[in-house]
Each structure stands twice: as structure tokens, then as C-alpha cells.
């Protein structure tokens, strides 16, 4: 009962906040709304017993990435931004796409099958703590994909530095 109430609140708040993020005229207000949105998503993870994911959601998204968004927005000239035209002109086109996607999701919901149960049941995770279970599986079973992801991120970092330094020299 309580859990369902909390979920309904979070789902409603996330939907409303997402709409607010894209409808604010002032990008800084968008960022603040997004900050609140990220906290609601983190709360959703907490209700799923994924407390590690919730903490990382706030640290990485709210604490690092969104601050960088804010930084970039503050460096732009806000007044020009406010009068810029929207990307998509005719709104019926957007509405049609949205309704189509919604219908596609509704239709495909029936064929949804829950995945097979793995070794980490709720009891095991409660005994071992979420962080430990995640760390173990990440560094044994998924070690290879994990390393691939870190290489991809490293390439992105080096690429950014190379691009920035090139412009500096010329």
C-alpha cells in the first residue's frame, strides 16, 4: 500500500518534471528542474533496494554531469538563447510520432516476459549488501565489458584533450 503510493508519487513527479525540463524558457531553470528530477529517479532506485545505484545516480549525474551542464549554460549568452527558435516547426508531426510510440509500447507490453532468476535473489543481496554483490559480479562475470567501457571513456577523454589543444596551437 505504502510502497505503491510512493511509486505512484515518484512516477507522476518524474513525468511532470521531465515535461517541465523541456518547456522552461530559461535553461538555468531547466537545470534546476532536472536536478529535482534526478533526485526522484534516485528515490525510485531506493524503492527497488538498489541503494548503491541511487547514491551513484546522485553523485555522477546530479553532482558532476549536471554541474557541467550548468557551467556550459552559464558560459553561453542566455539572452540569445531565449529568442532562438525551436528545432521542430510543425507540432502535429511531433504529436503523431509521440502517439505512435505510445501505442507501440502499449501493444508490445503484452509480450513482456520477466527475465530468469539469477543467483542474486533479494535475500542474498540483503545479506551481502547491494554494493558488494554489484562489485563481485561486475569484476568477475562482466569484467570484459567493464574494461571495454573504460577504454571507450579513455578514448573520449584523450579525444577531447587533442581537439582542445589543436585549436590552441593554430
Amino acid at each position: 500500500m505504502l510502497a505503491e503510493g510512493i511509486f505512484i508519487y515518484l512516477a507522476a513527479a518524474i513525468t511532470i518534471l521531465s515535461v517541465l525540463v523541456i518547456t522552461r524558457k530559461n535553461p538555468v531553470h531547466s537545470v534546476i528542474t532536472m536536478l529535482v528530477l534526478f533526485f526522484h529517479i534516485a528515490a525510485l532506485y531506493v524503492t527497488l533496494n538498489a541503494e548503491f545505484l541511487a547514491a551513484v545516480q546522485v553523485i555522477v549525474y546530479a553532482g558532476a554531469i549536471l554541474v557541467l551542464f550548468l557551467f556550459v549554460i552559464l558560459l553561453l549568452n542566455l539572452k540569445e538563447e531565449a529568442v532562438a527558435r525551436r528545432y521542430v516547426g510543425p507540432w502535429p508531426l511531433g504529436l503523431m510520432a509521440a502517439v505512435g510510440l505510445f501505442l507501440a509500447i502499449i501493444v508490445s507490453l503484452d509480450s513482456f516476459v520477466a527475465g530468469p532468476k539469477g543467483a542474486f535473489t533479494t535475500e542474498v543481496i540483503k545479506a551481502e549488501t547491494n554494493t558488494k554483490a554489484l562489485g563481485k559480479i561486475l569484476f568477475t562475470e562482466y569484467l570484459y565489458p567493464f574494461e571495454v567501457v573504460s577504454i571507450v571513456l579513455l578514448v573520449a577523454i584523450i579525444g577531447a584533450i587533442v581537439l582542445a589543444k589543436k585549436r590552441l596551437r593554430s
Binding site: 538555468v28 546522485v58 553523485i59 553532482g63
Partner: protein, 332 residues
């Protein structure tokens, strides 16, 4: 209906705990300002506040009343909603970390498994208050202060987080109560010696993270008047002030829990389970003031160099060393 009674009782206990901790910390914040003015005063061969009450003891209360009744001035071109919400974000970020701090054995408002990550997450929220305050005031001084603070806090947050990884590895847990218990078998009941590099990085990063001297560039008076909160007055300014001192207390508490053995001490003090915690807290707060009275402010590029080229590599080095010691089973 025993279920509802139990739930209500549970909620009542939590609310009572929150009120006790909140009241105690607010009192500490008020007297931390008095302690600071007295300490720095005596270090500079002055007396500090003397007029309100014996030895100026009632000065923080007088200051609080003054701030409360002062006129609240809002700049004409300010972005009002953001201007109002910025000090609140700062204060919420600082205060919510208090929920997970174990002040003594078995006492934390929320004893959660990811306590340390929760504190890091909440402290990262503090930079929003500062940037948004700087931007919404629509003043060049506060905007520059806000931008400086953003860069500084992001840079030092990485070093802060990495310096605590060694502690996580030694304790094998992110739960703050478990971290304190894990220290009992180490020398002096502390992680201080096995984590000496991590502790040094943590102390420096914590001072930078709370925008205290010598890293108080966001509010460098000689260049920026007062930095990000120039345009704030009255109680809104007071909120920033409370947030800064609460942040100091939080950082000192995390230092105590992670490196100085939490509520444990060389001997047990009867009837006051939180005595050692608060003694350690006062010593650390004193060190904050000592550093402020001793060291001149860093230059901005020096600050960034120190953060990225010294602090982060040192913290990573500490992780590698701790990992090797752990694999060799050289630790108790």
C-alpha cells in the same frame, strides 16, 4: 491495530532523533562562529568579541537575532525563484548529511549501507547553491565567485572521494558504523596510520570543499568583495553562513568516522557515549581555524594545479598501496 501504533512510534522516534541532532548541531554552528572569532583573535593578539555577555559569550545569539531582523534586500535584476532557492539548496545539502553520521555506538538517524556515498552525494549538492546564488544575483562579483567555486568544488570532490576509497577497502564496507567498528583492531583504534596519505589528502580536500581558507577563493574579499553571496542580506545570508559551518562540521565528522576511530577513545568516558566524538570534533574545528589564521590564500591556478596534479595522483597512489597491502595480507 498494533501495526499502525508501531509505525507511528517508529516515526516519532525518528522525528525525535532528528530534532535532537538538528538542535545540537545548530547550537554547535552558533558557537563555532564564536570559537572562530576568539581563536583567531587570540592568534592575532586581539581579544575577539568581549562586549555581549561575559567574554562575549552571548555574541552568537545577538548575531542571530540581528540577521533575523535585518531587511531582506533583493537585487532588481535578480532571477527571483533561483535567488530564493539557492541558499536553501546549500543548507539542505549540508544538513541532510547529518542523517547518516554515527555520533556514538548505535546512534545514527539512518544507519544505511551506502552511508559514505550518501555523504559524498549530499556534499556535491552544495556547489549548486553557490553557483546558482552567484548567477541569480546578476552581479559580476558574485558570478565570478560562483564560477570559481564550481570549478574548485568539482576538482576537489574527486580527490575527496578517492581519498576515502582506501578506507572503504580496509573496512570492506560503506556503512559508517561498520567503518568505525573495523578500526578497533588497528593501532590507536584508528585508520590514521595505515591511511596516512589518504588522511592528508582528505584533510586538504575537505578544506577546499568547504571553501575555507586557504582555499576560500570563491569569497576572496580583496578581489570579489564577498564572492557568491555579495547580494544576499539578512536571513538569506544567514542561511549560507549556517550551511558553511554545518559543512565544516560534516567534513570533520567524516574525518573522525573514517580516520580517527569515531566514538572510540583511549579509555571509556562513563555516561557520555558521544564524548570522544565531540572532543575530536572540537580539535578538528580548531585546526580549521588554526589553518585559517596561519596560511595565506592560494592563487587560482595554484589551486587547480594542486588539485589535479598532486591530490588526485596521491589519492590514486594510496589506493594502489592499500590494495597491495590488502593482497599481501599485511594488515590486521
Amino acid at each position: 491495530m498494533p501495526g499502525i501504533v508501531d509505525t507511528l512510534l517508529y516515526i516519532a522516534i525518528i522525528v525525535a532523533k532528528i530534532l535532537v541532532v538538528f538542535g545540537a548541531i545548530m547550537l554547535h554552528v552558533a558557537y563555532a562562529t564564536y570559537f572562530e572569532r576568539k581563536t583567531i583573535g587570540h592568534m592575532q593578539v586581539r581579544l575577539g568579541p568581549m562586549n555581549v555577555g561575559p567574554h562575549g559569550l552571548l555574541q552568537p545569539i545577538a548575531d542571530g537575532i540581528k540577521l533575523f531582523f535585518k531587511e531582506d534586500i533583493i537585487p532588481a535584476q535578480a532571477d527571483k525563484p533561483v535567488f530564493f532557492v539557492a541558499p536553501v539548496i546549500s543548507l539542505v545539502g549540508a544538513l541532510s548529511s547529518l542523517a547518516v553520521v554515527p555520533f556514538f555506538e548505535g546512534f545514527a538517524i539512518a544507519n544505511i549501507n551506502v552511508g559514505l556515498l550518501f555523504v559524498l552525494a549530499m556534499s556535491s549538492l552544495g556547489s549548486y547553491g553557490i553557483i546558482l546564488a552567484g548567477w541569480s544575483s546578476n552581479s559580476k562579483y558574485s558570478f565570478l565567485g560562483g564560477l570559481r567555486s564550481a570549478a574548485q568544488v568539482i576538482s576537489y570532490e574527486i580527490a575527496l572521494g578517492l581519498s576515502l576509497v582506501g578506507v572503504m577497502m580496509l573496512a570492506g564496507s560503506l556503512n559508517l558504523t561498520d567503518i568505525v567498528r573495523a578500526q578497533e583492531r588497528y593501532p590507536f583504534g584508528m585508520f590514521l596510520l595505515p591511511q596516512i596519505i589518504g588522511c592528508a589528502v582528505f584533510v586538504i580536500a575537505a578544506i577546499a570543499e568547504t571553501n575555507r581558507s586557504p582555499f576560500d577563493l570563491p569569497e576572496a574579499e580583496s578581489e570579489l568583495v564577498a564572492g557568491y553571496f555579495v547580494e544576499y542580506s539578512g536571513m538569506r545570508y544567514g542561511l549560507f553562513f549556517v550551511a558553511e559551518y554545518t559543512g565544516m562540521i560534516i567534513m570533520a565528522s567524516i574525518g573522525i568516522v573514517c580516520f580517527l576511530g569515531g566514538w572510540n577513545g583511549p579509555f571509556k568516558i562513563p555516561y557520555v557515549p558521544f564524548a570522544w566524538f565531540f572532543i575530536k570534533l572540537y580539535v578538528l574545528i580548531f585546526i580549521y581555524y588554526w589553518v585559517r589564521a596561519t596560511l595565506p590564500r592560494y592563487r587560482y591556478d595554484h589551486l587547480m594545479n594542486l588539485g589535479w596534479k598532486v591530490m588526485i595522483p596521491l589519492a590514486l597512489f594510496n589506493i594502489v598501496i592499500t590494495g597491495i597491502l590488502k593482497v599481501m595480507k599485511a594488515l590486521p
